[in-house]
């Protein structure tokens, strides 16, 4: 017989305590979402997602067990708690290093981040959503750039997620968050040469359909498509040798995420992601060491209002705030959950996130960015003899210790004697993390700070987490380009 999920959460805590769990948390999540898919102007699908379930996590005898279920019955709950407890006990008994959770302050709180009235995901009718996508597609397909854009794929997803986390230590956190996400892939082709260039589009933020206006989505898409057209019709070969780079917010954002955010995740440093997302070139002994220049302060802050990675309490009920991963070039803080914090004899930095009721909370980024400096954009470029201004990137990758990365420029321009000149094609920034951050000698001011949305991959099963990354503009000196 189906039970009230809120009641099941409370009973799960009692059940775990009866079975001797040192720690038990029960997390109920209910998600309602809608999706619209448009392929080359044709509405391929309208979709509705309805999901709910409870995840149980138990610490007992130095081991951890997790179980989830989506059939809301007492029997299912009892089986899940019994499994999580028994497996925690069995695996814990075989461990030589017992798992502990750090002692943390317990909170009871409610918070929300909803779309504006009338624009929440379930309040906007499906016609309007598809019309917004169709209007975006029309802009791209009718644009006169000298190039054609024969491949256009857009995907919009909105959702409302309600969550309740309860622990046997007394934490109780309720939240309700609306989220809007827009994805796209467009490819421009030069009809004379056959030269092609692609761009992925990802926009996302906490809120409802008002986000489309916040992003000025039609102008944004038009600019993206125009830029692609220029790249395939006008760009020239990128310079090689030792040159300077000025990079834009989206490029800084991906560098902050990949070269600093990931290696600062404490579970990676402890080897817990060794077989999946990898480990880290950083370690606990390196806290306090210089990684970058004094211009490099990288912050991860989940509490940015309206952000794609927004939360006020993490999925272990810990109160969140900004984490200074690097401050003035020095490695300062890690992204911790309670498990990694206990191993390192420190405190959680409220980084525990689970992307659904059926996932375990692990250390994750939320909104990672390079703190702005004091320079104007013109000051960054004015003394560069030969360089590249890379405003956006296309292909990128990084090794699994997060030491050697490659970013290929999308919208990029030659800088010559302090002036921005013609577009250059696919300049490559392929260097090491210490070289990258160590070569930054100027960062632009706060009013140029921007964020982009991304989906961060980690965990097993994979947990694709919504995150922001960003920055203003930064200058990187003396990069060798082969």
């Amino acid at each position: 017989m189906t039970s009230d999920p809120y009641d099941l959460v409370e009973k799960a805590i009692d059940e775990g305590s009866k079975l001797g769990a040192k720690y038990i948390e029960a997390r109920y999540e209910k998600l309602g979402g809608n999706v619209s898919i448009l392929k080359n102007g044709v509405p391929e699908l309208g979709g509705i997602n309805r999901s709910r379930g409870i995840g149980i996590r138990v610490l007992k005898d130095g081991g951890v067990g997790f179980a989830s279920f989506n059939e809301m019955t007492k029997e299912e709950m009892k089986i899940a708690v019994a499994f999580a407890t028994k497996m925690a006990e069995l695996s814990g008994k075989r461990r030589t290093k017992k798992i502990k959770f750090s002692d943390e302050e317990v909170h009871e709180a409610k918070y929300e981040s909803k779309g504006v009235n009338g624009k929440r995901p379930f309040e906007v009718n499906p016609e309007e959503k598809m019309e917004r996508l169709l209007s975006i597609d029309k802009i791209v397909s009718e644009l006169q750039t000298g190039a054609v854009i024969p491949f256009r794929y857009f995907f919009m997803n909105d959702q409302t997620q309600k969550k309740l986390i309860v622990t046997n230590e007394g934490a109780r956190i309720e939240s309700e968050i609306d989220l809007l996400q827009l994805f796209g892939l467009i490819v421009a082709v030069n009809p004379n040469t056959g030269s092609k260039e692609q761009t992925f589009i990802q926009k996302g933020k906490a809120g409802g359909l008002e986000a489309l206006d916040f992003w000025n989505i039609n102008d944004y898409i038009e600019n993206k498509a125009k830029t692609l057209g220029k790249i395939v019709t006008e760009s020239k070969e990128a310079p090689k040798g030792t040159i300077d780079y000025v990079v834009g917010p989206n490029v800084i954002g991906i560098c902050a995420h990949e070269n600093t955010g990931h290696p600062s995740e404490a579970d990676r440093i402890l080897g817990r992601e060794g077989a999946q997302a990898g480990e880290s070139y950083l370690n606990q002994e390196m806290i306090g060491e210089r990684i970058g220049s004094e211009h490099v302060t990288i912050i991860d802050d989940p509490t940015l209002e309206g952000s794609y990675g927004f939360y006020l309490y993490d999925d272990e009920g810990i109160k969140a705030g900004p984490r200074y991963l690097h401050r003035k070039g020095i490695f300062e803080e890690m992204l911790h959950n309670r498990e990694s914090a206990a191993f390192m004899e420190t405190q959680s930095t409220a980084a525990a996130r689970a992307i659904g009721f059926n996932r375990e909370p692990i250390p994750r980024m939320a909104n990672t960015y390079l703190a702005p400096g004091s320079f104007s954009f013109e000051e960054l470029t004015e003394d560069i003899k030969l360089g590249v201004f890379m405003n956006d990137f296309t292909e990128w990758n990084i090794d699994d210790r997060r030491y050697q990365s490659k970013y290929v420029g999308l919208e990029a321009y030659l800088i010559e004697n302090g002036e921005i000149k013609h577009m250059v094609r696919r300049p490559v920034l392929e260097t090491t993390t210490p070289k990258l951050w160590g070569s930054v000698d100027a960062v632009a001011k706060k009013d140029l700070l921007e964020f982009d949305a991304a989906t961060c991959g980690k965990g097993d099963p994979m947990q694709g987490a919504p995150v922001y990354h960003g920055g203003s503009f930064m200058r990187i000196r003396n990069v060798e380009v082969r």
Binding site: G46, G47, R52, F151
Partner: protein, 454 residues
Amino acid sequence: MRLMVEKTDVQSILDLTSKKLVDLGFEDYIINTERSNRSQLRFSDSQITIAKNWASMNVDIYAAKDSKTVATFFEDISKETITSTLESLLKLANALPPNQNYYGISDGPFSYPNIEFLVDPEFLDFHDQSIDKVETAIRAAENEGAKRSAGVLVWDVTETHILSSRGAEAKSNSTAFDFNIRSFVDEKSSGYGSTVGRLSSKLDFEGAGKEAGKIAKMSTGGVNGEPGKYNVIFSPKVGANIVGATPEVANPFSVEIGQSWLKDKIGEKIGPDFISVYDDALLPNGLGSKIFDDEGHPTGRSLIVEDGVLKGFIHNTSTAKKAGTTSTGNAGLVAPENSNIFFEPGEHSFEELLEITKDKPTLFITNTWYTRFTSYTDGIFSSIPRDGMFLVEKGEISQPVRELRISDTMPNIFKNIKAMSKENKQIKKWEPPSYPIFIPYILIEDINITAATN
């Protein structure tokens, strides 16, 4: 350990849902239900870090009304939610313009193939052996010289039902096992091993651990490699990720959204004569093996590449009719989906591959990750080797090397395949490919290798 407990009657959900869809006026519909019980052991630093279990029941529905196509995915399976959501689905369909790419779903009734080894009769006994199996692999890695290991073991039992408005009605049971281990001698010296399949008796935990430990040990003392042109020998894990990326985009959906370099290539020679590749849903012990696709159409074996020539794409009913052909039994809810990708093995031993390339600078690459594309339509990509990577000199594996990147194009990779080993291995990784791939060791000539500048 935990067993599957029947709670919600699947037939009642199928009856409720199909009746409601008919009452609402949908002409076509497909209902898929999946009840599964999946368990996982994750380990790192050679110890179990967490044990997990997922009891899951979900329902997928695809429906069409006046060529307007809609879908819904339920993990909230209360009758009230199903009923109200289907009513919302009708409103959604009424609000949409017609999908001009929709040509209907597959017409039944159907008879379905028999596939060997879909269900492990010893599945229920596996729970109590699971921790020992993991520890067997960890000890095997240690015996080869590994200091610590991380990885994951997953085992799963799934019951699937399908019911369509066009006469598809079937049920299928399957089990699955997926184990991988990454072993380290030090922070930069690592190796990877895996074993996957439908039957626990066919998994080789000791072999996976031994492979991971051996490669980790061999990779100690690695030096930074030099960029340049190399012949490369890809292990099956690397081949699945990079060579397997070509058959993975041999479908009309990927072509139409600009995510494939195979547009207008059917009939063209894209590789040497000895390359043949299939999508094969009927492979015994294949993790992608299944008797029906998401339309309830029977699955089969589809030729993608024959003797180096791209012969065709996989299809669902709509993409097939649009292309003037018939479904290959590869329907997903939106786009065609692969089952198992199968590369016909070559005729050489691994040692012969080393011998063939002995006169050219050669790298043996055992694993890779983070393959990303500058251009899908031209196949321009780069990928970062991880775990052991070695120079091959005078026909033998020699110096371990590090910090290199494969930066080339997919057409080059396929065209420059020189030789393949005799046996292939089933690969399913945390990273792409999304589908299981059966693939051998592959020798490829003249591949561009880059490195980061300091």
